[in-house]
């Protein structure tokens, strides 16, 4: 009896730690379905069963027990994906070394961050929770789904999403390490060297292990190399198991990393911010690198002074897989509006603009077979708008993850916090104003910026 109880407890425990995220079923009736990959379907139904899209068509009958959502006159699109954010994590930068590939943002997930709910209210269902840009090679990142309401960090992870890692070029690592700590890199030459050195050490490490694995079959006395978490990650990048997401601005540094990657046979690269990507768009396209950009941010530091709001349009027209990201707890709530700016600045079509916040970021994160479009077999991550999502007047009505409605404007409560801090003195207002552009440097600021005084 005691044993049985013990087994039950163990089983319950297992169930808790390996719990599958909640899924749901529903029939979304009669909406204008923006599939992204297969055109726009008028007056069309989308059937969702146990978290997956199972049918798309007209006059689908709801299976027994499946609730119906009437989307007449509304727009149904895949959940928005943000390829660059820092929400839902309580640590951003391990700013102690130019190379910190041993750390992982997935260890710092924070399911209580109200930004998750706000992102949902802006139609965003997945984001790429990234390490910051203090180091030339930062930590691994985590692709999350916005499953708001849980206290368990595990529930946020998008199980099965490929590993990704943050790299950073230019001013931020130069400032933190060169200016801040008087160690390499202080220049863009140094940044290249730091990355080449890390790749070389990773390669040597990988070869040492390969050699040992060969030897140990015949030689029981063979000595394994010393385990090194940092170099394990570098080796995994070289093996193609990790996608590099590289913070970058200037054309020269983007071009530099392309060359470094070519030399080491690294193929999976997506540039982040990449404000001067438009200057090397043909090179990015030829390499097959992605570009994840801001719609219109510029001039907040010198390396973004020669930017243009037409960046995304130029990249798209050159054949680069391009996305628009937020890097902000504010912008993650209106990426549909940010994407629409590419219509003003460069005249992209509706399909091209919407791809920037759906299937393209999905490709950049290696999750395009799961999310990013409305197709049978894909995860039911869906947002329903009251108007075309590229219109300034569009307001998300319902946001659905894995077939579960996590945001419903008709049931939206005023205060949704899971973690109530009764002494919340003042507000995000001033911080957001001041620091919008500096999320990437969170955790490195205290050390560096005397000019960020408390009273501006």
């Amino acid at each position: 009896m005691k044993n049985l109880l013990f087994i039950i407890i163990i089983l319950l425990g297992c169930q808790w730690s390996f719990a599958q995220p909640r899924t749901g079923s529903m029939l979304i009736k009669n909406g204008t379905v923006l599939t992204i990959t297969k055109g726009t379907l008028e007056n069309t139904d989308v059937l969702v069963e146990r978290g997956k899209i199972t049918r798309i068509g007209k006059n689908i009958a709801a299976p027994a027990g499946v609730p119906i959502i009437d989307a007449t006159g509304q727009y149904v699109m895949p959940g928005i994906i943000d390829a660059h954010s820092h929400i839902a994590i309580d640590a951003v930068n391990e700013a102690t070394n130019p190379v910190t590939s041993e750390v992982w943002v997935g260890d710092a997930l924070d399911p209580l961050d109200v930004s998750i709910y706000r992102a949902l209210a802006g139609g965003c269902t997945s984001s790429h929770a990234m390490h910051g840009s203090a180091n030339a090679i930062g930590g691994e990142c985590e692709t999350i789904k916005h499953r708001w309401g849980t206290y368990n960090p595990e529930d946020l992870r998008m199980q099965g999403a490929p590993r990704t890692i943050k790299f950073a070029l230019g001013e931020n690592p130069m400032r933190v390490h060169g200016e801040g700590r008087s160690i390499v890199p202080r220049t863009r030459m140094g940044v290249e060297f730091v990355i080449r050195k890390a790749f070389t050490e990773g390669k040597n490490y990988m070869e040492a292990w390969a050699k040992y694995n060969r030897e140990k079959a015949t030689n029981p006395n063979a000595l394994p190399p010393q385990y090194d978490r940092r170099l394990e990650t570098m080796a995994d990048i070289l093996k193609g198991d990790i996608i590099i997401h590289c913070h970058s601005y200037r054309a020269d540094e983007i071009y530099m990393l392309l060359n470094v990657c070519k030399d080491f046979g690294v193929k999976k690269v997506c540039f982040q911010h990449v404000n001067e990507g438009f200057k090397v768009a043909p090179e990015l396209a030829e390499f097959g690198a992605g570009a994840s950009v801001f719609a219109d941010w510029w001039a907040y530091k010198f390396e973004v002074y020669y930017s243009t709001a037409y960046n995304a349009a130029i990249l798209v027209k050159n054949g680069v897989v391009t996305s628009i990201n937020s890097d902000s707890g504010d912008y993650i709530r209106h990426l549909y509006h940010q994407a629409a700016k590419t219509q003003r600045y460069g005249g992209l079509t509706d399909e091209e603009s919407l791809a920037l916040i759906t299937i393209n970021p999905a490709k950049q994160l290696g999750i395009e077979n799961r999310v990013g479009s409305i197709e049978v077999g894909k995860d039911a991550d869906i947002v329903i708008f009251n108007a075309h999502p590229l219109s300034i007047y569009a307001v998300p009505q319902k946001t659905i993850v894995d077939g579960v409605v996590y945001f419903d404007i008709s049931k939206d409560a005023d205060d949704v916090r899971l973690d109530v801090n009764p002494t919340e003195a003042f507000p995000a207002y001033y911080e957001e104003l001041q620091l919008n552009h500096y999320r990437c440097m969170q955790g490195a600021f205290e050390l560096l910026f005397g000019w960020m005084t408390e009273r501006e």
Binding site: A121, A299, S307, H337, G346, A425, E456
Partner: protein, 438 residues
């Protein structure tokens, strides 16, 4: 030998003239007579008119159908297009900042708590890269504003055309005051308790009151000296000299205040101090005390609209809804970006206010005639009326809609080319030559 010289001279002259031709390729603003025909004219104050708008000597001289056109006027066919008055941003640091992180290019934040005499207009760089970037999106006018401390300086309304600050000056200045806020430094490392922060705020408020008492005294001495030359003149005190016109009701106080309880205190403060001309700016939590602001009759310049709510406990859309909620309560509301390089997003801030509840016509007024009235320039700016300044733009549609294009631009009568560094980079790099291969 002489021939060679002649040849060389000729070569030099032709190279020079070639350079001249290249130089002339840069499009310049031009002034003159213009006839904008077949347009839908959104006057803001006098409804929608289908027809022609005539510009002469920098002013709108006619609006309507079958209006006389001046001889030699340049005609711009606006079939299918819309004319709107230039949008007015109620508060920015445009022209005062070139590169955000380079402090030596930041001219909006002087040293000291009490610097009301500092003139934003002086530091406006007419050739700031962000100025053309802003105006080609239809934002023609902004209140450029000093920041920091209790009295950071004097803000100035500028039109986004001209080569000197005086050419840009649009006829309004106001003294900025920040209602004291002491907040913790973000991202940790600041362990001051709520009580400590409150005490520091109270200390600053005391300072504000002392300054105001001093200014009142200074005004009395000054008035006495003016009334009778036998009375002593006040000592040179540029700070007080800047504040006295506010006390006398000659100059507007732009009072930045955001927390709802501060807004309530600020209303009382303004009433106690009998400040005649005052505008509240920021007003992020205005929606919580909108009735009280309306009752006090204090106009508001609010924004940014596209931002997160001020408290984690607030409904997600409160910042978007704030202008509409205040307007509904009867507050006179103008909208600002509070930005520097992206003041061009003003129409989108207004558009989000509409998406989240503000009346569309009110939102249009909030970026045109309403700020013009607040700044006492409604006789020249903020609407399309005969006799007003030709400060307007021609758009392909609703100016709040993201994909709408701005086709023509007039500021202060100048036909300004639709050109900026962002556009130039697009044109240079869209089909880059050489491409990937040399």
């Amino acid at each position: 030998m002489q021939n060679i010289f002649k040849f060389l001279l000729l070569a030099i002259v032709s190279i020079a003239s070639l350079q001249l031709v290249t130089a002339q390729i840069v499009e310049k603003a031009e002034k003159g007579a213009f006839v904008l025909t077949n347009a839908t004219i959104e006057t803001i104050t006098q409804g929608t008119v289908k027809g022609t708008l005539v510009i002469q000597d920098g002013k709108i001289t006619a609006i309507g159908q079958n209006v006389p056109t001046p001889a030699g006027a340049k005609t711009i066919d606006c079939t299918g297009l819309f004319i709107y008055p230039g949008m007015i941003d109620g508060g920015s640091t445009l022209g005062l900042s070139e590169v955000g992180s380079v402090s030596l290019t930041q001219d909006f934040n002087e040293i000291g708590e009490l610097t009301p005499q500092m003139q934003a207009l002086t530091a406006v760089n007419p050739n700031a890269t962000a100025i053309p970037v802003t105006r080609v999106d239809g934002v023609t006018t902004t209140l450029t504003t000093p920041r920091g401390g209790l009295f950071p300086g004097t803000a100035a309304l500028i039109n986004l055309v001209g080569y000197t600050p005086d050419q840009m000056y649009a006829g309004f200045k106001g003294i900025v005051m920040n209602y004291p806020v002491v907040r913790r430094r973000p991202w940790g490392g600041d362990n001051r308790s709520d009580e400590e922060l409150k005490k520091e705020e109270e200390k600053l408020l005391k300072q504000v009151n002392e300054v105001w008492d001093q200014a009142a005294l200074y005004a009395r001495i000054d008035s006495a000296a003016r009334a009778n030359s036998a009375n002593p003149k006040p000592d040179y005190n540029p700070e007080m000299e800047a504040l006295v016109p506010v006390l006398r009701g000659e100059v507007t106080l732009l009072l930045e205040v955001n927390r709802y309880n501060d807004i309530e205190s600020a209303i009382k403060w303004v009433q106690d101090r009998k400040i005649k001309k005052v505008i509240f700016t920021g007003v992020a939590e205005g929606w919580r005390v909108a009735d009280k602001i309306a009752q006090a009759g204090i106009p508001v310049i609010t924004g940014p609209v596209i931002t997160v709510p001020s408290r984690a406990s607030d409904r997600y859309d409160k910042a978007y809804a704030n202008p509409g909620l205040m307007h509904k309560a009867g507050v006179k509301v103008a909208i600002r970006t509070n930005n520097s390089e992206n003041v061009r997003n003003l129409p989108f801030h207004a558009g989000f206010a509409v998406a989240y509840g503000m009346d569309k016509a009110a939102a249009l007024r909030a970026v045109t005639i309403t700020p013009a009235e607040m700044f006492s320039v409604a006789n020249r700016l903020g609407s399309l009326e005969v006799g007003k300044s030709a400060t307007l733009f021609v758009a392909s549609g609703d100016p709040f809609e993201t994909k709408t294009e701005i086709r023509h631009l007039f500021i202060d009568g100048w036909n300004v080319p639709i050109d900026s560094r962002h556009i130039q980079l697009y044109e240079e790099f869209l089909n880059r030559q050489p491409g990937a291969k040399k």
